[in-house]
Symmetry: none
Subunit: 208 residues, 4 copies
């Protein structure tokens, strides 16, 4: 008896199955090359059924993006507390990307390839959330500059680009080369590397 799970194929199940299948196919082929037929096949359903759960292909794509942005902004809401240092806030962002890459690599892949860097898919509403993410990151950095925790002689926007660019390059290279993350140890090393270099620079102590 499973009172909390009476039916295997509830609407929620199917939606999720199609969602995951779409992530996998879009990751592999890109949004425009992913066919509804491929997604249905990956979900082991008929392709007409996709249209019962999602209004259109664009709708399905937006659902995937929504999932990503919801999780990211929720994390930033949780992380953005006065008691947190700038290191902790930026570290949370790095951790989030690495955790997501470990748990849902398809989602991160799609974010990187289809959103972060794809003019073709960037309708204005999609671009807005991307800018919001950059702005919220910039706010963290601006605040830290005000508190003299980050240098003030480089524009906050520039520091934001450098920070997010470094993070994104790490993740996207793993994404493009399909590198798996090998446990918490590697995630910690990568996080430390990014944060350390971002905060203290690449220059050798000896060389100074």
């Amino acid at each position: 008896m499973q009172p909390t799970q009476p039916a295997a194929n509830t609407k929620k199940d199917r939606t999720a199955i199609i969602f995951e299948a779409a992530c996998a196919v879009i990751r592999e082929k890109g949004f425009h090359q992913a066919r509804i037929r491929d997604i249905a096949a990956a979900a082991k359903i008929s392709y007409g059924l996709v249209y019962h759960y999602f209004k259109s292909k664009a709708d399905l794509f937006d659902a995937i993006l929504g999932e990503w942005w919801t999780g990211l902004f929720a994390m930033m809401d949780r992380s953005n507390m006065p008691s947190q240092s700038v290191e902790q806030k930026l570290g949370d962002i790095v951790k989030y990307f690495l955790d997501q890459y470990e748990q849902r690599p398809d989602l991160v892949h799609i974010f990187i390839t289809e959103i972060s860097r794809s003019a073709a898919n960037l309708t204005p509403p999609r671009l807005d959330r991307f800018k919001m993410f950059m702005n919220r990151t910039e706010e963290i950095i601006t605040e830290a500059q005000g508190a003299k925790n980050l240098r003030g002689d480089v524009k906050a926007r520039y520091l934001t680009y450098i920070f997010l660019g470094a993070l994104e390059c790490f993740v996207s290279t793993m994404v493009l080369e399909n590198q798996p993350l090998k446990g918490q140890g590697q995630k910690d090393r990568i996080e430390r590397g990014i944060m350390e270099v971002f905060l203290n620079g690449a220059r050798s102590e000896v060389g100074q």
Copy 2:
């Protein structure tokens, strides 16, 4: 009498006109959404003529990529001299991206959106040149680590990601937001910002 410019529409002209039109259209719509019809219209020529100068759509795309990579690798060949410091070599890469963005923003945009981050377009030969670029950059950094000019406690590959990621994020944000570069002054400021933070870190001197 026009002794120095006898013919306006030589074969070279048309190839270049189509090339530029293709850059503009692909920049705007992405490779897969760019239709030959759009490119022909942008070049103010008939549809079929595109196929007179380029074997296929893919051929045209590869010509664009070839142009980008040829220029980039030629610059790296020129820059890679023993007398150059690591700061100069990496600075040359930054300069090249910013110069290209100023002169041929479409080309940079296509590199960013269709190559650097688009799994859908990354056929193996295309990915190869991207990896070669990363490897050559890593070589510069490895060499600098050996000479104690860059810290050795972070893997060269990680430093490469951070450096290129920072650069790419700058350029791609300008690309995505269609920001114009305002003269040599802004290019210098951006270059100094990237190099300064990459080498010395974002941490405030005061905060240490």
Copy 3:
């Protein structure tokens, strides 16, 4: 109430409808001039649907050829029994062509115009089956020469050409002139004419 015919448009029906429409259009225009659009119109369906049932235009063409050869070789398998005389075996071939022309004139037309005599369509696998047909006919004739039922002073291959040529010319002229066959009587007369002249010659008894 339609107990014996519950569904009019089953998958089998549509495949057959498209098949027949393709035969009619290819008969009229030839394979290369037959457009998918024409075939769809003749089948009273949308042209996209053709691709639901046949992978490509070539696939559709090969299906038609397959139908022809399958029927012809099956007949030859049935006919090729030791108890049969050479007259009966060759007569069966003549009967088959005439029966097919009566029942499926399009198929015979396509065989004559697109296969039997069209270098443009003769890909090697297509030519192979044609040669197999000639070889099997030649075997019948060789065997009859061995049994002294056919003259041995003319090469078996030559007799084969004369026999099949005569048959084919009858059929192709009917085909090209869209002559209808008027019942079993005419078929018998034609068969007798071909067999009689092939076996006994055109020379008048009186004239000898």
Copy 4:
């Protein structure tokens, strides 16, 4: 000094060169698959020039057909004399096909594949000449039947089909298999085989 041949590339020359090139290309690819570009390349001229000598592709094709029919009907005019026997008249037709195949195989090939058996190319004027050829052959046979030189119990039309079919099958098989004719000896053997079997039948004397 060659006063009668001052220029190598007279209009007549070029027309003939293009004509021969067209024959070769149409033979190989079929009329509809033969591109003007191919024909021009085979003639080693630019493809625009084809249009100086022939109004259109169809015009070029009709010129080829005209050449064939002119030669054939001229031969029949010469051959059709009261003093000639039916054997001689039919033998002249066989000889003509074999001679032409030896001298201008492309022309014979085109006649066989594109005219004799291609509904796609058979516009009414083209079909007319084909029917005229059959009718003139039938006249020879009818006349011979009247003179009791050919059997009268088989319709003249049927005997015509058998005769021309046999001839055509010989030639078209050579054409399709690119068999070369090896000298006058083989031509004579083939002619004798066709005439002998057509006149006296395939049945063995022994078997009667």
